[in-house]
């Protein structure tokens, strides 16, 4: 009886699994970049940046299609169990969230295109800081979540939860600020609506990052924390004892 080896006895299986993780990671990193580019397009009415985001959005969709197809084939042919099965399911769920986050970034970029076309100057100056902050947070949050997925580290997932709370706070603060502005300058209503939607999208992106983090917890421990309460999430989940 030989010692347990580093990878699966069937090497192609190993290759398929790590390929899956790599692709999911690449997709997630792309989404994180998209968020920042989209917000820049919005704030600076940058037509080129906006179009870049639209082009990369197709790449993100392609990622989703490829990864889902790969997962389908893997499940049918290899019948993964235990940690392999959890990983495959976690990636499948995470990819859905990543794709939706990518969609949100696309929406933000579209606002940028519109404001560039109208040459209205985009969101009012005072909203630039909150928008930039939220974009930073959302992008960071996404990057951390996707890293956690790649490494199978549920502790990092805690970090994402924290970032998401910050995003929510920023969102509330930004909305309040916007209402103040709206009451003072009703002429800028149209761009304010755009701003609100942009803020909402960013908040949504933060939520998707948090979902990805929940999938990471599933990957590690098999526990489904998507609808769990805060205390249940707080305790670190134990997985396979080493």
């Amino acid at each position: 009886m030989t010692e347990p080896s580093e990878g699966h006895t069937f090497k192609a299986y190993d290759g398929a699994l790590s390929d899956l993780r790599l692709r999911a990671h690449a997709m997630g990193v792309l989404v994180a970049v998209q968020v920042k580019t989209a917000v820049r397009a919005l704030l600076e009415s940058d037509r080129e940046a906006a179009e870049l985001v639209l082009v990369h959005e197709q790449q993100i969709n392609a990622y989703q299609t490829e990864i889902e197809a790969e997962i389908f084939s893997l499940l049918a042919r290899q019948a993964p169990v235990a940690s392999d099965l959890r990983m495959v399911l976690a990636v499948s769920r995470a990819v859905t969230d990543l794709e939706r986050a990518g969609d949100e970034a696309k929406k933000i970029a579209r606002f940028g295109l519109v404001s560039a076309a109208r040459m209205t100057g985009g969101p009012t100056r005072v909203m630039h800081k909150p928008l930039r902050n939220m974009a930073e947070l959302a992008s960071e949050s996404m990057r951390v979540a996707v890293d956690a997925l790649d490494r199978g580290d549920a502790r990092i997932a805690q970090e994402v939860a924290r970032l998401d709370r910050e995003i929510d706070q920023e969102f509330e603060a930004a909305l309040r600020q916007l209402m103040t502005v709206a009451m003072e300058r009703t002429r800028l209503l149209r761009s304010m609506f755009d701003t609100v939607f942009a803020l909402k999208s960013l908040e949504r992106i933060g939520d998707h990052a948090k979902n990805v983090a929940e999938h990471v917890v599933f990957l590690v421990s098999g526990a489904d924390v998507r609808h769990a309460t805060a205390p249940e999430r707080a305790a670190p989940a134990k997985g396979t004892q080493h």
Binding site: P4, S5, P80, R86
Partner: protein, 297 residues
């Protein structure tokens, strides 16, 4: 969410299970440690048999080391593990088949409930054990007699004389083994005239005819094609709730499909024992994880 792992890798189950108040002859509830791993939906926590510190020797070689495991009544328990891990050796302790080989020695106990008899004790007659515990072997081994006589043999050995009664029991056993419809018109034909899958079902009928308390399966489908295998797995699933089943298999998917509880053994020791769904989605021991995901080199 706190995820507790339930492993039975401690040397002995802590404390004896509490006996019922009627003098200790009632079937005990399993000890607390093991209960925690049970699926909440499983209402049947009655134990049929428990191995306590079971150690087994082939001459000087220690083949099993200090096994502690409980088999639930009327549930299917699977034993998995790499070749040479001792799962078949363990299985054969239950019906004292090792007694046929000279130089073997048992230590520890296997207790059968509700009588609390130690199956491996020297004082207990192996014939008596085999009258209560049946076995189906890896390669179908029907006797070169008629189909009827094959199933009837166990009954005749027990002294059943009435041909009418024997006929009834044979039909009942063949129905339970899902073979009756296929052979009812040719009961006088030789058992060897059947296909491989049918022969194995005949062997199952033969074992069922005597209403065993525990039915042992030693890799029952490893010599059969996929369709015959599926039929036998279906049969085992149907036997659940009627008989306590212990099945040894080297096909993990089969263990996953067919059993309620799975025990993973390695080098003669019990590494992990748990509900099958838990063991296959989130095993507690790395060794188990490595084995079932195929990471053994």
């Amino acid at each position: 969410m706190q995820i507790e792992s339930s492993t039975t890798d401690s040397p002995a189950l802590p404390g004896a299970p509490p006996h019922a108040h009627d003098g200790g002859l009632a079937t005990p509830r399993p000890s607390v440690e093991v209960m925690r791993g049970s699926a909440p939906a499983d209402k049947n926590l009655v134990v049929k048999s428990r191995a306590e510190g079971l150690t087994f020797y082939y001459g000087q070689v220690k083949a099993l080391n200090d096994l502690n495991i409980e088999m639930r009544e009327k549930r299917v328990t699977a034993l998995i593990g790499p070749s040479g891990c001792g799962k078949t050796t363990f299985l054969r302790c239950f019906n004292r088949m090792h007694d046929l080989t000279p130089g073997t020695r048992y230590e520890g106990r296997i207790i059968l409930f509700p009588d609390s008899i130690d199956l491996v004790a020297k004082e207990v007659d192996p014939i008596e054990v085999r009258m209560r515990i049946g076995m189906v072997f890896q390669k179908p081994n029907p006797f070169p007699k008629s189909i009827f006589e094959n199933v009837a043999y166990g009954l005749r050995v027990r002294g059943l004389r009435s041909n009418a009664r024997i006929g009834e029991e044979v039909e009942r056993a063949l129905r339970r083994a899902a073979l009756w419809d296929e052979v009812k018109d040719r009961m006088e034909n030789s058992g060897l005239s059947l296909s491989g899958g049918q022969q194995q079902r005949l062997c199952i009928a033969r074992a069922l005819a005597t209403n065993p308390e525990i039915l042992l399966f030693d890799e029952p489908t490893s010599a059969l094609d996929p369709i015959a295998t599926a039929r036998i797995e279906e049969l085992i699933a149907e036997l659940r709730d009627q008989v306590t089943v212990i099945i040894v298999t080297h096909n993990m998917q089969q263990a996953a499909r067919v059993s309620d509880y799975t025990a993973f053994m390695y080098l003669g020791e019990l590494i992990e024992f748990d509900n099958t769904s838990k063991l296959f989605t989130n095993p507690s021991q790395k060794a188990t994880e490595d084995y079932i995901t195929g990471r053994y080199g």
